[in-house]
Amino acid sequence: MAYNESDVFPTQVKILIAGGFGVGKTTFVGAASEIEPLSTEELITAASVGTDSLVGIEDKSTTTVALDFGRITIEQHGIVLYLFGTPGQERFWFMWDELSAGALGAIVLADTRRLQACFEAVDFFEHRGIHFLVAVNEFQGSFRYEPEEVRAALELDERVPIVLCDARDGQSATSTLRSLIQHLLTTAPAPSV
């Protein structure tokens, strides 16, 4: 190949944004991404889907059923970070294996009005040994719980960080990503000397 690969091709990494249906994954990806989030075209309206729980998410009319992703380029280090929103409905979980392969880690977005919606994501990452943190998305009108209350409700290991975030706000989303990387650094093995 005629290219000096390290010059031409950046290092690509991915982080998954998970959580239940309507919890703000797409919003989070869009807020953090430098590009308009990209997606396959498959949008469904919530009204057309009998199996989704719509309790507490009356305002959300559509959800993406396939890949939904954004990008952050860290030019000075030649890294491109992809943020993949995971499918929020059980029947699309077959996609998770390909998505999670090689992922650095995951952010599980939680809506305190419907904490149970993120149980499955938490279980998935725990079972696969993928490091994650829980970000409580502060929706308007949602009651604010203390992080420790959320931890107890989700039966989270004490090492799993819980942060608050506003998925609509780019700074907040970026800060949540930093928290995840910091968490990954605490779990990564010390450099061998």
Partner: protein
């Protein structure tokens, strides 16, 4: 060859774009080149003969290193179809590819520190 109206893109031979990559690939279910969602592709500038319109479109999207996921999103094609198109182009050297590094990502402190540094500057 009859020119189906542009409005009837889902009909007959105009339906080719979706079906044809599979037939072109002689029933291959997986491309000859291993491509991941995050594999990067870049047009080499080498034109190939007999390219379909989709191949030309794909090449046009890849003047800089572009991920398979992005090509699929821009082409509005399923990822699996996009991979076949890309593999065709790699086979005829119109496209170069590099798979994402087999990542020890989550345990690579140097990478994580660079990432954190980058995110702190945003």
């Amino acid at each position: 060859m009859s020119e189906a109206g542009d409005d009837e893109v889902w009909l007959d031979d105009a339906a080719g774009p979706l079906v044809r990559p599979y037939t072109v690939s002689a029933g291959r279910t997986r491309p000859t080149v291993e491509l991941d969602l995050l594999s990067l592709v870049i047009a080499t500038g080498r034109a190939a003969r007999g390219m379909d319109i989709e191949h030309v479109k794909v090449l046009g999207l890849c003047n800089t290193p572009t991920s398979v996921a992005e090509v699929a999103a821009h082409m509005r094609l399923p990822v699996v179809v996009t991979k076949v198109l890309l593999a065709d182009l790699v086979d005829c050297e119109a496209m170069a590819t590099r798979a994402p590094k087999p990542t020890s990502g989550a345990t690579d402190r140097v990478l994580l520190e660079k990432l954190l540094d980058g995110l702190q500057r945003i």
